[in-house]
Symmetry: C2
């Protein structure tokens, strides 16, 4: 096994209905940060919200860019959602191709692809051209088949049990956001 | 909905064969840290290794305790493994019941339970007595049925695709450890 092969950056996809997709990406960020990786996190749906994760990522000096306006998919303004997603992708694609990063997280990108706000073939075309050592982590429900096919590592987070269902609880600060 | 109910600490289990269980727990830690939670992370199998995650957790001032000696389950010394697991659990149980923490991670505990190095009923008995607002995240393959039954939130990480299988790659620094 040669070192080029060992060092190849992976395209990792976390999908499925269960909790833990964004968390797993953030855990990957924490781990990579410990190794001195240069990291950028794009949130395709979230907006700047002072969430626990955004605070601590910035505190660590990790670049975070929020591209969305929250989970507002029954929005009356689909064109605005599409425009946001496309502008977001343009920024992400620039950073993916820049060679400036070791790890880029595309949080909730699957969601946007699933809604066809972006074309998954276009995303894959960019990923094909990414620097060899760059790792990319993509999260969100509904990862399209061609992205699953293209990725190196795919985990489906399967919901076995969720407290919103079993106990009627609201989202918990520090655990959910 | 009263505030006691909203603030109830959850018992979260990440299990299954897929990648992302420990990562999801670490992501939860990062998020909780951003909200100022007091956190402790126990690794039931890992030993101190200077891994990316251990480095950065300690850098953040988060308490990390490694209780294992690595993944050495075809060990010739099962009694030593059992002793380590039991000593580890004693420490973890003390911290769970102490009231000193908002989030405790029990990384790879399922693994140890699956090998019957610890009795899952005993673990559940302790979790029943935990402070109301304490969140506990338990990771590892093979979560026992009674723990799944007891937990508030359970996600199974299902392996869809893994590069060790599809490409014959070694574990990647910064992504896997």
């Amino acid at each position: 096994m040669n070192s080029d092969k060992v060092k190849k950056g992976l395209v990792i996809v976390y999908t499925g209905e269960g909790k833990g997709k964004t968390s797993a990406a953030l855990g990957g960020v924490l781990r990579a940060f410990g190794h001195g990786f240069k990291i950028k996190v794009f949130h395709f749906i979230k907006k700047d919200s002072g969430s626990g994760e955004q605070k601590v990522l910035r505190q660590l000096g990790i670049e975070v860019e929020t591209l969305g306006k929250g989970f507002t998919w029954n929005s009356e303004n689909i064109e605005d959602d599409i425009r946001l997603a496309r502008n977001g992708w343009t920024k992400a694609a620039n950073d993916i191709l820049s060679g400036d990063y070791d790890l880029i997280v595309l949080d909730e990108l699957n969601y946007v692809l699933d809604y066809a706000f972006l074309d998954s073939e276009m995303i894959i075309e960019t990923l094909r051209k990414k620097p060899q050592n760059l790792h990319v982590i993509i999260t969100g429900r509904g990862a399209p088949d061609n992205l699953v096919e293209f990725a190196d590592l795919v985990t489906e987070m399967k919901m076995v049990k969720h407290p919103y269902h079993s106990m009627g609880l609201k989202a918990q600060k520090g655990v959910e956001y």
